[in-house]
Symmetry: C2
Subunit: 412 residues, 2 copies
């Protein structure tokens, strides 16, 4: 399952196919609905939040790239809200599931497919669907081939939470206007950094910082970017870290109940929320900041008028300068309270540096897993919940499992 | 600082003033920009995400209630993105700061005020601003009185993180179309429940569940609503819990470094992200689910067509049924892995039941703080960071503190 490393360099054909698809789709659609959960959506959400215009939803057809709506839950209110607001004639649906049987994703797909058939007709709905799925296995591949629907492949050697730079993420990102070649170039930069000696290697040093603090009692790993646009990056990181390292047994089968808990935070906002606990609560956290060297566009704080003189220290300064002063101040305050923290520095928040950051965090996770002797690429702990869900939904062995649940006092 | 309890019953005059303001503002504005951070915005974000139409941003002027944009960070990209997208002539700005000196909020205010003066003129920009601030102290109150700007008051006996049901939250929520009287009615229901004997009191039982599991090693308190619309509720809860209970000393001055760490999760989405760690990682968590009895509007999953027979168990079932089956299954799987969890049940996600949930979580927090002998209403651990920020921004004693920071190796 190490295919994620090579995604940076091995995707020329994929990129050409994506280019062709985007060129064809861009004039035909205003909105893209992504149906995917976990690794099939968290990466796209993180990158689009970072790189699309922050008010993209308000711009309508005038904006750059399609508006992207991710359906990553079986929430009837949200699905119905989209169905009654979007125009099926101008909407493309990207269904993403390796097996084609992910219950949440496919429930959404059945709803959107019916809506498209109704809205654009039985003959044409297939032109509004593109499936990202296993190249050979599962139920979506044969369906798409029979129906002539467009498809992209989830590479078999890439696990869901490591798949943002595969077609799983690249297709919706390219449709959303992201420079996906630059993302991959950044990932290649991180691969190079991972191969360097320790002192010059951010991936290795970040992995070490996590291991060293965990050994000294940090059971919680905070990721705290100082940028609203990077807020959703933390959700992607949470899955990567939690699902890769949270394991009951190690590779030898010894019970370890491993894994520190990833905790999302956002600067400066969380200085007014979580930082009180970080500074004064239990000594159980390490904080990794992300800080930008330059903003995309800075904004000067206007000089305050009469009556607001108490704010005169802000007048004429940059928003970005204030943001970074607050990051430095928060790091120093944490240190003064004897709380470990370190800072990942991005020269700027563009596709290339974001790709480098994503790949760096994947390296960090893989290296820590390796060091702990953990299989970072499986997720055995989610199976039982799926079995119970199937039982409750009557998929198989329903009655027997239902009785078991009732005996345990669980409401069906 | 126990004023939050009485907000449910003592606000007749405030509600009348809000009604009058909304009646006047609704036809004049399409967009509301809320400038506030921490307790001045997290509650509004939580409630609007839950109760406004899920696709409100896409609906433009046609939708119900103003479109609300919360600026809770000093991110130049986000502020500039709004300034270049919104129409100043149709935008109302609600600046929320008790003192009027919160750096992040007031930096944003200076930018939006300059934009309004430019866009609607020196004579009229004041009609586009409403300030929510201390009734007597601070710099915004005298400014607003001098200029004839509209104001609402932050009650002095209500702390920021307990203020969602004061004008801090009620004004933007009412402008966004939320039934704020129903919210307060729900809070009154929770107040009644808090006065009942333990067995019939959800607030008391929830507080006990947190205390009992913390004593047995749960250092992390997960809030996991099964509703996309409740995803941002967790961010509000994170501040409430972290800032109230994360304290270095107790009321007697003994060093305790108290506080369990609140962790947001969202069902079903996080079954594909965090649940692996919850089930198999360290035994350090308690999970509180939130589950809805009925959805606002359910959606039936259409029957799958030929080729998708593997999904036939989903056909004809409700999205809501699937959502709640997954919640029950996840709770049962956690129990099978010996992980403590409990469920808060809302009959439905309307303003009244959401108000009850908010007030219940405030009661839970206050009761746990009381039991631990903690002052749940101060936040001494954020002061040092503010001092360093002022120093770095040259507000006072800049040079001395800058040298201190440089000696400590912190980048200014």
């Amino acid at each position: 399952m190490l295919g994620w490393i090579d995604l940076a360099s091995d995707q020329d054909e994929v990129l050409d196919a994506i280019d062709a698809f985007v060129a064809e789709a861009a004039p035909r659609f205003d909105d893209l609905v992504v149906l995917g959960i976990g690794g099939s959506s968290l990466g796209s959400i993180a990158v689009l939040s970072a790189l699309q215009h922050p008010a993209r939803a308000l711009q309508g057809a005038a904006g750059d790239g399609l508006r992207v709506h991710v359906v990553d839950n079986v929430d009837a209110d949200v699905v119905a809200g989209l169905l009654e607001t979007l125009d099926p004639g101008r909407t493309l649906v990207n269904v993403i599931s390796k097996s084609g049987t992910t219950a949440e994703t496919m429930a959404g797909y059945l709803a959107f497919e019916a809506w498209l058939r109704d809205g654009v007709g039985e003959d044409r709905f297939r032109e509004h669907v593109v499936a990202t799925t296993d190249p050979e296995q599962g139920i979506l591949r044969p369906l798409a081939e029979r129906d002539g629907m467009r498809t992209f492949s989830v590479p078999p050697s890439v696990g869901g939470r490591f798949s943002v730079l595969s077609p799983v993420g690249l297709l919706p990102l390219a449709l959303g206007g992201v420079d996906v070649r630059a993302l991959l170039q950044g990932a290649a930069d991180a691969n190079e950094a991972a191969a360097r000696p320790f002192d010059q290697s951010v991936p290795k040093r970040a992995a070490f910082a996590q291991l060293a603090t965990a050994r000294r009692g940090a059971t919680i790993s905070v990721l705290m970017p100082y940028s609203t646009r990077l807020r959703r990056l933390s959700d992607w990181f949470v899955q990567l870290w939690a699902e890769s390292l949270g394991k009951a047994v190690d590779r030898r089968g010894a019970r370890v109940h491993a894994g520190t808990t990833p905790l999302p935070a956002s600067g400066t906002t969380d200085q007014h929320s979580q930082v009180q606990l970080f500074n004064e609560g239990p000594f159980d956290k390490v904080v990794a900041f992300v800080r930008l060297g330059e903003p995309d566009r800075d904004l000067r704080i206007p000089a305050p008028r009469e009556g607001l003189e108490a704010l005169s220290y802000l007048g004429g300064r940059g928003f970005h300068e204030l943001m970074n002063a607050e990051q430095a101040a928060t790091g120093h305050a944490l240190a003064a309270h004897r709380r470990p923290n370190y800072t990942l520095r991005l020269p700027r928040l563009d596709a290339r540096h974001l790709g480098e950051l994503l790949q760096t965090l994947m390296w960090q996770t893989a290296l820590v897993g390796e060091r702990l002797g953990i299989d970072a690429y499986d997720q055995p702990g989610v199976e039982l919940g799926k079995v119970y869900t199937y039982a409750l939904m009557g998929r198989e062995g329903y009655e027997a499992t239902r009785r078991e649940l009732e005996d345990a006092g669980v409401e069906a």
